[in-house]
């Protein structure tokens, strides 16, 4: 099962290497890892997507918490969260295909961020499934490049979606 782990870490050199090294050394698999600063300049948040059973996840949480500069660890499994990926994707787009492609982009609420004679670069964000679905529908046109942030997530505060 996929778990989204959120770790608040001290914003210090070496912390990312420490976390990544721990995962490698203990043979835990990272599906994605996203790091960025938080509202506190001394702290960063790492969002790590890990696949494993409950037992592995328990170890992942504990081993993460054991790393000295890791301040707080949360596993979002079983609680409502907002989880999003951001993707930049460059698609082959010759003139005759453009209208179709543009309508697909619109359906996925994507944004064209760069355009050339034979390609468009699109920005899409959303839950991972949406990103995967967009990649699938773009495949027939030819995908030149994909860059993804990996999942970032936050628990939902309100009971219902807006």
């Amino acid at each position: 099962m996929k778990h989204i782990i959120s770790a608040l870490v001290e914003n210090k050199p070496g912390v990312l290497a420490h976390v990544a090294g721990m995962f490698a050394a203990r043979a835990f698999n990272i599906d994605s890892l996203a790091v960025g600063r938080t509202e506190d300049p001394n702290l960063s948040r790492m969002t790590i997507v890990v696949v494993g059973d409950d037992r592995i996840l328990e170890q992942v949480r504990k081993q993460l918490a054991k790393i000295v500069p890791v301040v707080k660890v949360q596993d979002f499994a079983g609680q409502p969260v907002v989880a999003r990926d951001l993707m930049l994707i460059t698609i082959s787009a010759p003139a005759e295909k453009r209208p179709e492609i543009l309508s697909l982009i619109e359906m996925f609420k994507g944004k064209v961020v760069d355009i050339g004679q034979r390609f468009v670069m699109v920005e899409v964000s959303g839950p991972e499934e949406k990103i995967e679905a967009f990649i699938d529908v773009c495949k027939p046109y030819g995908i030149k490049n994909v860059a993804r942030t990996g999942t970032i997530a936050m628990p939902r505060q309100a009971k219902t979606e807006p």
Partner: protein, 576 residues
């Protein structure tokens, strides 16, 4: 030095400012350091210059690995933080085996390493290595200090992290320019560790559940690891075992936490542990693990480990709990505090049938060897050592057969008496660790029980013992093989002794050349006399016992088997 907040930096008399190196030494002294091990080199010279006048006893090993093991042995024997200092690059790299050894066995240590100037870092400068990168997985914590203002705080943090919670080595990398930089006097050196918390007090409810489980158990076993020694909880352990009437088995690192002469002692469990300990664990209905981590050398086949037991696990490291074995009653915290609380809640139960069963196993399967043999049996040497030292020596060991015989045949009676590399199994650990232990305990008899191959790895440190007049004793159980490797090759590789023997020097001659005493023993009848002579020496002394060459360690749980599927029991039975 006066605080000078509000004064401009220019107005300060430069000569009144402390250098980074001075701050390091001052902080070490503040942390109570009176002994250090280490080796100088280019980028750590500013620090060594300050150490020249510092009231710190300094021991120079012959190799940084030796220095690191010495700091380790010092820490294990004293309970204090061991401190080792080296230069950058090769000096730091040579620490790695020692750091990994200390990490695996949870030994408090602070390593200080020089580093090239900050502006050269990353440029492949002379003697540059990515020390923090290399040592990250083998330290509890490490960091590089790039601003002189951060030095005092970082070193304080290093000692705090190394010595609290589950202890371990902490490395601080010190660029040379930071050592010579001058520091403003008003810098705060308060520790700042938002991510480091240690839970010491056990959850009261969990403690009560554990106590009830103990009171209700018919066939309990206490399984005790090095954590009890780290927590200085031997006395509480003794009281618990007596008050509640519990048999006690220990891991290798737990030896000494419980007096092995007591009737409740089941001695060591595991791959080469006592048959009666292994049987008891497999048949117990309650396993009470304290400061132990269910290592594979202890559990053997995990799936069938203690199959009938409810498991209580008391440990200060939450990550140790349910890592290998699913635990029923976890209690996270300091062993001393938790055992004290348990003591108040447990009741005496006689458990006659259980103790009877254990007594029968003990009678049937004691550790044994052929006492009638004409050759020198390695086990005989250890028994004789134990007898002549009245179980009162500090024993360091190499790794392999020598180590297993040492712990099977020496009787440990108090904490910090055995100094042995358990988790990492570092050959060559014995001699330097014994030196460190002797530095910590100058009045104790410190004996390194070693194998010839283990001794070969670090024997250069004998010169260190001679230089500092540390009267350690080395008993080499010399079988001319890497004994444990040979044993496995005999048992599992059809006696194909692939590269498991070395041509050894005459150790007594080597020892004498280095300035130590050296004795060779090749007759069984000479063993007691040689040990007596060795123990009478006021200088380092090496005794080369030419033991039976192809003796095996029994019993043995082969890889992949359950803890009670031991080989060699038939051999032991014949020998009683």
């Amino acid at each position: 030095m006066e605080p000078n907040s509000g004064t401009s930096v220019q107005a300060i008399d430069e000569s009144s400012l402390k250098t980074g190196a001075q701050i390091i030494v001052d902080t070490l002294l503040e942390q109570g350091v009176d002994t250090m091990f280490g080796y100088p080199g280019g980028v750590v010279l500013p620090l060594f210059d300050k150490l020249y006048d510092a009231p710190i006893r300094f021991i120079n090993p012959r190799h940084e690995q030796g220095g690191c093991h010495m700091a380790d042995g010092y820490a294990r024997a004293s309970g204090k933080v061991g401190v080792v200092v080296t230069t950058s690059g090769p000096g730091a790299c040579n620490l790695t085996t020692g750091l990994a050894t200390a990490m695996m066995d949870s030994v408090p240590m602070v390593a200080l390493t020089g580093q090239v100037r900050t502006e050269l870092i990353g440029n492949d400068a002379f003697q540059e290595a990515d020390t923090t990168g290399i040592t990250r997985p083998i330290t509890k914590y490490n960091c590089i200090v790039k601003r002189v203002e951060d030095l005092a705080r970082t070193i304080r943090e290093a000692f705090y992290i190394a010595s609290t919670g589950r202890p371990g080595p902490v490395l601080v990398d010190l660029p040379v320019d930071v050592q010579v930089a001058k520091c403003r006097a008003d810098v705060s050196a308060e520790m700042d560790l938002p991510g480091y918390r240690v839970r010491t007090k056990g959850n009261a409810r969990q403690v009560s559940i554990a106590a009830a489980a103990i009171n209700n158990s018919e066939r309990p076993v206490l399984y005790v690891g090095g954590g009890v020694i780290t927590a200085n909880a031997s006395e509480e352990l003794r009281q618990l075992a007596e008050k509640s009437h519990l048999p006690v088995t220990t891991t290798l690192l737990g030896l000494g936490s419980f007096d092995q002469r007591k009737p409740e002692s089941l001695d060591m469990l595991g791959m080469h542990g006592a048959a009666y300990a292994n049987y008891a664990v497999q048949e117990c209905d309650l396993l009470i693990a304290v400061g132990a981590r269910f290592d594979d050398r202890v559990t053997a086949k995990l799936k069938t480990f203690a199959p009938n037991a409810k498991i209580i696990h008391i440990d200060i490291d939450p990550a140790s709990i349910s890592k290998n074995v699913r635990v029923d009653i976890p209690v996270v915290g300091d062993a001393k505090l938790i055992l004290t609380e348990l003591l108040a809640q447990v009741e005496f139960r006689e458990r006659k049938p259980w103790f009877k069963k254990i007594a029968d196993w003990k009678k049937k399967y004691p550790f044994s060897y052929d006492r009638q043999a004409a050759t020198i049996k390695p086990q005989y040497v250890i028994e004789e050592l134990c007898r002549q030292t009245a179980s009162d020596a500090i024993i360091a060991t190499g790794v392999g057969q020598n180590q297993m015989w040492a712990v099977q045949f020496y009787r440990f009676i108090k904490a910090r008496q055995l100094i042995s590399s358990g988790g990492l199994g570092t050959m060559g650990f014995g001699l330097p660790a014994a030196i460190g232990a002797q530095v910590a305990r100058p009045d104790a008899t410190v004996i390194d029980i070693d194998g010839d191959s283990s001794f070969n790895m670090t024997m250069t440190e004998l010169a260190t013992a001679v230089q500092y007049n540390l009267p350690i004793k080395v008993c080499i159980l010399n079988n001319g093989y890497m004994g444990m490797v040979r044993q496995w090759q005999e048992l599992f590789y059809n006696k194909r002794y692939s590269h498991s023997f070395l041509s050894n020097p005459d150790y007594a001659t080597v020892a004498r050349a280095i300035g130590s005493a050296g004795i060779t023993v090749d007759k069984k009848a000479d063993v007691p006399g040689a040990i007596k002579e060795m123990l009478g020496q006021k200088q380092p002394c090496v005794v080369d016992f030419r033991v039976e060459r192809e003796e095996n360690v029994w019993p043995m749980v082969p890889a992949g088997k359950s803890l009670d599927e031991m080989d060699g029991l038939d051999i032991l039975e014949r020998l009683i």
